[in-house]
Symmetry: C2
Subunit: 338 residues, 2 copies
DNA sequence: TTTAGCAGTTGAAGAGAAAGAGTGCTAAAT
DNA sequence: ATTTAGCACTCTTTCTCTTCAACTGCTAAA
């Protein structure tokens, strides 16, 4: 009783059948739907073996086989990273990609929504985030007598605002001059460079530059850019989600702020996609979902993440290959803008 | 057989009881829970009348009363607009409001999430949108030889980006000078003012200023600011949502782009809240939900919207008064920044 | 106009019974 | 040693039937 070629085939057939139908796979069906030249009884012997080895379980004693996490893990390792995405899908992704909208946010949202429809699951894309942000430009806007708004424009046209308390009444004219001066000194610098270069500044300018550096440093500290989540309805329309209190706990997690961090906390294998299956998931509420995520961008410069979240029973081949296709495009786009 | 005081009381009691318990209200319960000095049989006569007049229906022949849309409409008219929010809630809203985060987006998100928890339903807040946007500042960033990025900073620190094709190769230095010149000319202007004032410009500058005006005009054309939606889990955890295919169609609408427009398309009664109940809703998928929305800001200058979406059986008094409280705060905040 | 009393309705919950799907096991065949 | 046919067994699903409890509607009296 050992693993052999037919048993591997049987396992693969069970997984792929279950991915499509979401129903336990019977020995009969395995034979019928995949011209294996053996009888159902033989298949039953094989599935008994697979069950013993922990690759499948039965919902109850006389039911068909359902793949376990171990089976899915086996399956994705078997698939590998280099899956060819069918031409039609590839073409569509390219098309949507090229129809760049003027706004980055809108564009990422559109991409996420499109990918979600393609893989029929939830998709999250984070905006590209530079490892070390650099100042492009700063503005100071008078709010009240002792209060100004510091507008910080970073490279990649990211903008941050910060309310700034002043020790005296400063006119808008004066503020504009201040802003111009500081912009010309600090443009192109990172937060630590700004902190280092403070000679020849009045105490007031010094105070603003410290605030400025802190805004940029805060940006640096973020682990990822703004996440765009699309396709919740697609995830929730999956058969395993229909009637269950689970969807509420899932929503609860997804509406929170730190699920992304906890999911993506671990490093990415360079270039490849990261796959988290069921119980491997650190977040308890998501323990019967799978996550496939991929990093795009330029390593050590600027990068973002594209991820697909769906039931464990998801079309891994399609998700992986779509992700590969999209991240390649996004990476080249980021490379251009750096 | 006509409406009289007790019957109005009975109707109010039915509505308020149903809002709390989400279960058909029996004649017994009406008497017991609200010391009416009559017998259940009398109440039954009254509910029979209310049913005839279309204020309540019965899910089946021997069940208690459930309020109709007409009843809710009657109820909110009765409530009026000036409901006092209990001190605790008012205090909490003020507190969250004062804890301003540095980023407008983050702050609105926090406010929406807080309000959602308070009214236990879905909340949407749109960012304030100026009727006529004014340029604060513009930047030009070299991308490639014949391509620049136009960064437009509007008042209220809104930022828009637009890729700009150039007819020749322009250095970053030259672009910066161009941007400074155009900023000094156009700062504080609206899109039509920019279009009007184009004398003394080279054809290149003219081209940029047209692009600039178009970006601002596009912003003007938007009907509302960016919407922040929070509390989906709260809406979906309402008893009427638990097991139903409805939640999928609702999600479908909510994930789309134009439900807000269709819901808020009609004008706001000045100052007051707008209430849409059940069938009054233009969007079919939302026909058994209610929307309560309120506009904040400075009329004809800049404004946004705060809305609560929940089952028809929602706590209208609490929602209306919370909304009033929050919009007052938001309005004064917008007035300050204008 | 209100009330007590009671018959009548309806849905919800539970208990069988029957049907269907699919396996496990055994003994024979290859 | 593997494979297969055959059959008993298990478990879920679905239906029907019954019972129960929750209410109302109606009637006749207060």
């Amino acid at each position: 009783m050992a693993i052999n070629e037919r048993r591997e085939t049987v396992l693969r057939v069970i997984i792929e059948d279950y991915i499509i139908r979401a129903v336990p796979v019977a020995s009969n069906a395995i034979v019928e739907r995949h011209g294996l030249n053996v009888s159902p009884a033989t298949i039953r012997n094989d599935t008994a073996y697979l069950e013993q080895e922990g690759y499948v379980i039965r919902p109850h004693h006389s039911a068909g086989s359902v793949p376990t996490d171990k089976a899915y893990r086996y399956y994705v390792e078997l698939l590998g990273q280099d899956i060819e995405l069918p031409y039609v899908e590839r073409y569509l992704i390219h098309r949507v990609f090229q129809e760049a909208e003027e706004e980055l946010e809108q564009w990422l949202k559109t991409l996420a929504a499109f990918l979600a429809r393609l893989v029929h699951n939830l998709v999250v894309i984070t905006s590209p985030k530079a490892v070390r942000c650099r100042l492009k430009h700063l503005d100071l806007v008078a709010l009240q007598d002792f209060m100004a708004l510091l507008v910080v424009v970073l490279y990649e046209a990211k903008v941050r605002r910060q309310v700034l308390p002043l020790s005296r009444k400063v006119s808008q004219d004066e503020l504009t001059k201040l802003a111009n001066k500081l912009t010309s000194i600090y443009s192109g610098m990172t937060s630590s460079e700004i902190l280092a270069d403070k000679e020849d500044l009045s105490s007031e300018e010094r105070q603003i530059s410290e605030c400025l550096a802190e805004v940029i440093a805060a940006e640096d500290r973020l682990e990822h850019g703004e996440p765009y989540v699309e396709g919740l309805r697609l995830l929730l329309s999956q058969p395993e989600m229909t009637n269950s209190p689970r969807i509420l706990t899932i929503l609860e997690v997804l509406e929170g702020d730190d699920w992304l961090r906890s999911m993506l906390g671990q490093e990415f294998s360079k270039g490849g996609v990261k796959i988290v299956i069921g119980e491997e998931n650190p977040e308890p509420a998501l323990k019967d979902l799978s996550l496939i995520a991929s990093q795009y961008g330029v390593p050590d410069k600027a990068s973002g993440i594209v991820g697909v979240i769906g039931p464990k029973r998801m079309d891994y081949a399609k998700a992986i290959s779509s992700l590969n296709c999209l991240t390649a495009l996004l990476s080249s786009s980021v490379a251009e803008y750096i």
